[in-house]
């Protein structure tokens, strides 16, 4: 199933097949990230979420449908993903990520969580475990993304300091898919050792006004 991208990624495909990635959150960002990583051939994926599918999720959470409503997101997502690529080792964890979360040994963690509180907790967990973190956040028509390499780039906690959560009730679905696609690309770049990534840069996207800018972060 990989013949339409294996020539692009060449010898890196073997690294992708043996890679282990944890996707924190199986909501809007998480669904697209999971779908892409499974289709790209990532060997082992841990998916972590503590929520159930709700009807308003269906506008952007592409792994779910009407029959998924009320089910654990991790279970519904796993079933769908297994149908796409049965060779992917999927580990579903129905759990809220807090300071005590036992982080498995992985090559990268993808931040698809939906609050600053949980994002900053995940940042601290990744720092403790020295595992790269691919961050993104979305709201309305805007989003940001960066890749954190601990010891080389500032942490999310250093960048955002004391954050204020604004509950994002309105999110433009194509923005979510776009930002998640950027996250999945960053994961592949980390696995393949590509230099041109969002390490040391924050990508700011304003989809309504077609603005894409990167800001250096030190």
């Amino acid at each position: 199933m990989f013949e339409r991208h294996s020539q692009l990624l060449k010898e890196c495909m073997d690294k992708i097949f043996s890679a282990k990635v944890l996707v924190a959150g199986a909501g809007g960002l998480g669904c697209t990230v999971l779908s892409l990583l499974v289709r790209l051939g990532v060997g082992t994926i841990y998916l972590v979420d503590s929520a159930e599918v709700d009807e308003p999720d269906l506008n952007r959470q592409i792994l779910y449908d009407l029959e998924s409503i009320g089910r654990q997101k991790v279970k519904a997502a796993c079933e769908k993903l297994k149908k796409i690529n049965p060779s992917c080792n999927l580990v579903s964890i129905y759990e809220f990520i807090d300071e005590n979360f036992p982080m498995p040994k992985v090559d990268a963690v993808v931040d698809c969580l939906d609050s600053f509180k949980s994002k900053l907790t995940l940042d601290r967990l990744c720092q403790e475990n020295s595992v790269p973190l691919v961050h993104a956040g979305v709201q309305g028509f805007v989003g940001q993304a960066t890749t954190i390499l601990y010891g080389r780039t500032p942490t999310l906690n250093q960048l955002f300091k004391k954050t204020l959560d604004q509950r994002a009730l309105q999110i433009f679905p194509p923005l979510v898919v776009l930002m998640a696609s950027i996250q999945a690309t960053e994961v592949i770049k980390l696995i393949c050792g590509e230099n041109e990534s969002l390490v040391g840069k924050m990508l700011l996207v304003d989809l309504l006004n077609n603005r894409f800018e990167t800001v250096k972060i030190i």
Partner: protein, 97 residues
Amino acid sequence: MKIRFGNIADAMVGVKELEVQEHDLKRIFELVSQMLKKRVELVVDEKEESVYLLTERDGKLVRNWVVALCDGVNILDCDLSHLRGSQITIFVPVSGG
């Protein structure tokens, strides 16, 4: 010093970018306010580790939480009266997933 207003902050201020010849934060935003003919201020609360963008809307002052980076470093970690660098970027990070 270039002042860039990124995600959401640009809508609050009404411009994307300005340039002023100044390195003191208070003075920078006095000049920005003069240029835009309305009050725009960056309030740095070091105790709370928070930065707010004050803007005028319909004659009222509106305060919004933002992140400000001076050449990629959070402005809370900078000397505000002698900002070294060539660009301040102000934006509102979003947390939705």
